[in-house]
């Protein structure tokens, strides 16, 4: 049995993937869930492969999730953080990566503050590159785990109504979600203050709601984004309390919805700002399922990209 939708060398974003490739990634994620339920949570698939997690930005969940995925596939995982490495001495991204390659590595998982950093790296090194978030561009594995969580719950993606709420402007999660959901046939809406929505966002084929109440009335699921306070040099919103009152997802607002609305959040949450605690911990929240699925999705990505014979993989594309 072989797959017809080969992924190629890198995973940089969902924008450039086909529907078949996204379908493959979701389907392959499915059997990987079971491995994390075993008492010995490990398969020998990537034995001997070295994966470097190269994180130029703070991350707990994503880095840990990748690390669990790598270890459960028996790869050797090494973490490089920008603080405490030569990066803080001014070494460039490519020099860092080339030095790692000189030590014979196989894959790089990279997170970087600049949009396009993962692609820049992928074009310059031999190793497989997985984008773990680049600036305000994409965060493809988060997009995939959101798709998987939605599919788990609704048993379909086509026709599903998903509203991405909040700070879309700064959000790579939002971009990966929009591309992924649109390709899989879901309807996508955005809801947030005008100052936190990108310009010309309607061109991505999404609906825009000005009021969270309208979004709640329309949606099957809300993906509530974190207000990225660290990326804001002021002036985007009047105050956190004001933001919570107008755009925060609260139990009050949800109770007026015509149907149960699934609640998602990529984390870390600002409780009491974009989401209230009783919503985050409520019966329709799948926020922790997202985290569980993240490990399975990342195992699938590593499995599909790692090793293999590039010449054969290339021929198979033809």
């Amino acid at each position: 049995m072989s797959t017809s939708a080969d992924l190629g060398k890198d995973l940089l974003g969902l924008e450039e993937l086909t529907t078949a490739q996204i379908q493959l990634l979701l389907d392959v994620s499915e059997p990987f869930k079971e491995i994390s339920l075993r008492s010995i949570k490990k398969v020998p698939t990537l034995r001997g492969a070295t994966v470097v997690n190269l994180f130029f930005e703070a991350s707990t969940r994503t880095r840990l999730s990748f690390e669990f995925a790598e270890k459960r596939l028996s790869a050797d995982a090494v973490n490089v953080a920008s603080s405490g490495s030569s990066v803080s001495k001014g070494e460039t991204l490519v020099d860092t990566a080339r030095n790692l390659e000189a030590m014979k590595i196989d894959m790089v998982v990279v997170r970087h503050g600049s949009s396009g950093a993962a692609r820049f790296l992928a074009q310059r090194i031999e190793s497989n590159v997985i984008n773990a978030g680049d600036g305000m561009h994409e965060h493809p594995t988060q997009g995939l785990l959101d798709l998987l969580t939605l599919r788990d719950h609704f048993k379909r993606l086509a026709g599903l109504r998903v509203c991405i709420c909040g700070d879309v402007l700064h959000s790579r999660v939002a971009r990966s979600n929009i591309w992924g959901l649109r390709k899989m046939g879901a309807e996508v809406a955005l809801c947030g203050p005008r100052s936190l929505l990108p310009n010309a966002v309607e061109e991505m084929g999404v609906t825009v709601f000005r009021r969270i109440e309208e979004a709640i009335e329309w949606a099957d699921a809300l993906n509530i984004l974190r207000l990225q306070l660290e990326r804001m040099q002021g002036g985007y919103i009047p105050s956190l309390r004001e933001y919570n009152r107008v755009f925060g997802v609260t139990r009050d607002k949800l109770e007026r919805a015509p149907r149960d609305v699934l609640i998602m959040h990529p984390g870390p949450m600002n409780r009491g700002v974009e989401i209230d605690s009783d919503v985050a911990d409520g019966p329709h929240s799948v926020i922790l399922d997202q985290v569980t699925n993240g490990v399975a999705v990342r195992m699938a990505v590593l499995y599909l990209l790692a090793g293999g014979n590039p010449a054969l993989a290339e021929a198979a594309k033809g």
Partner: protein, 182 residues
């Protein structure tokens, strides 16, 4: 040009063979106590279902049926590309001190069974593991043999033995497909 396919076993022959194998499983384990039937994805799982059914008819005991997908344990993953599809592994019970019979459709190089034994070891330590296959076609590359064999066939390298099962393929049969160049 499609090579000429010959039917080695038709549906009735497959049913007869499986019935005998079901009896042999019970005989080999001297009963059905602590016995788990584990099929290898995909056709092995269907055959395991049949064996469980037949054993239930004869013995009045419905055995647990597990499934193993050995893809992640293959020894050629570094050389095959693109990636093979991974199926579901489903073994929700402890297999410690249990008796396990692995069921597969065709035994050839033995590499699948090697992988299955490694995977089972990650789930626990059965007191005994046996192997039952519908077809043993020879051509072993590892020191592995089956305890229960439906049919032994001498099939040249390059030729294929396809086991078709009702649930997936419409009708049970074993089909010989000669090498493409023949």
């Amino acid at each position: 040009m499609a090579p000429t396919r010959t039917i080695a076993l038709d549906a009735r022959a497959v049913a007869r063979t499986l019935r005998r194998m079901a009896d042999e499983v019970v005989e080999l384990f001297d009963g059905t106590d602590d016995l788990i039937v584990v099929g290898i994805q995909r056709r092995g799982v269907q055959l395991a279902d049949r064996l469980v059914e037949m054993i239930a008819e004869r013995e009045g005991v419905r055995l647990k049926r597990g499934a193993l997908d050995i893809t992640l344990y293959r020894d050629d993953l570094q050389t095959v590309g693109p990636r093979p599809v991974v199926g579901k592994t489903d073994l929700p019970w402890s297999i410690d001190r249990q008796r396990v019979v692995i069921v597969d459709d065709v035994l050839y190089t033995g590499r699948t069974i090697r992988a299955a034994l490694d995977e089972l070891a990650d789930f626990g330590r059965p007191s005994r593991i046996a192997l039952a296959v519908l077809v043993d076609r020879g051509g072993r590359e590892l020191p592995i043999h089956a305890d229960i064999v439906g049919r032994t066939m001498d099939v040249p390298a390059g030729a294929r033995v396809d086991v078709l099962v009702g649930d997936l393929d419409g009708e049970d049969s074993v089909v010989l497909v000669p090498p493409v160049d023949a």
